[in-house]
Amino acid sequence: MKAPTSADADLAAVERVLAGDVTAFEEIVRRWQAPLVNMAWRYCRDRGRAEQMAQDAFVRAWRGLAHWRRESSFSSWLFALAANVYRSELKRFPTETLPLDAAPEPSRPASQHNEAERRERCEVVRRAVLALPPRYREPVILFYFHEMDLAAAARSLGLPEGTLKARLSRARALLRQRFPHLNEERAAIESSALVTGKEAAQ
């Protein structure tokens, strides 16, 4: 998820906060609230909890603002900090997830005819990510959160890119095993959409 950001604006706001202007932090929160809430959502898939976790991340950022070394961008620092906060929060109170093998299999193509069902199936797949072992779960969450930017995800996780790549590949393999009919479902949706379109045209 790309944030509407300007590194200079972040830096200026941070300088003001460090000089004692508490209200300047509001500017930072305003700019980064959506990315941090969305990131938290991908960790727990619970809206209320995601906001709570994002709030904790902002408070932690406030406390640690003086420790931000300007070597990396503010966003990299903030995402890495948020990832730490979310990870420890979920360690303390894990989300309720079914084991990967017990996650419900999406319904077969024959019954796939509407948008709501399609959404539900996608949600099943996304929730299955939360059932992955932790070392594979977080790379998947952050890789797709950062719009498949491997370097950004690696920075947020504090891992070398090669390690992240290997973990992503293993995570995909686990998900592929779990959902072997995913492509058939999509094909069915597309063909049913095509038929519906043709019928509507006629």
Partner: protein, 146 residues
């Protein structure tokens, strides 16, 4: 034979293409996530917590300079106690002495077997109590014995 090979090759290719297409669908599902918009009160609640944090007095740093002598003294006493314990164990027949114990001065070993040893421990305990009492008074800003 060749036909069997060709069939196997085709099956492999089909499996590979199926796997690639599952993967691309996975990519599609995971990459297309609807964006959440934070609730209207989110910003205000974060700033409220930040204001609370800002109003809180800064935490008092741990007084390392003052604590170091005490920590060293405690470490010394513990080390001495450990050495003493091992030496008294060594004094029993059938237990071999560690080679490093040979480095300990002989007068210490003599002291360890003196009958007044327990009196020494009592004196040490009293001394430690006095020292900690004086230190606490000093840290509280009061000098003198009373």
């Amino acid at each position: 034979m060749n036909r069997a090979k060709a069939i196997r090759g085709e099956e492999d290719r089909a499996a590979l293409s199926r796997s690639a297409s599952v993967e691309s669908e996975l990519e599609h599902v995971l990459a297309t996530e609807e964006e959440l918009i934070p609730s209207s009160g989110f910003l205000a609640s974060v700033m409220e917590r930040v204001q609370e944090e800002a109003a809180r007095p800064a935490p008092i740093p741990f007084p390392w300079k003052r604590a170091v002598p005490g920590i060293l003294a405690v470490a010394g006493v513990v080390a001495w106690g450990a050495v003493d314990l091992i030496r008294s164990g060594v004094a029993q027949p059938g237990i071999a002495a560690p080679s490093w114990l040979a480095l300990v001065p002989p007068h210490l070993s003599a002291a360890a077997v003196l009958p007044v040893e327990s009196a020494g421990w009592v004196a040490l305990a009293l001394g430690a109590s006095l020292a900690s009492w004086l230190l606490s008074r000093r840290l509280a800003g009061r000098g003198g014995l009373l």
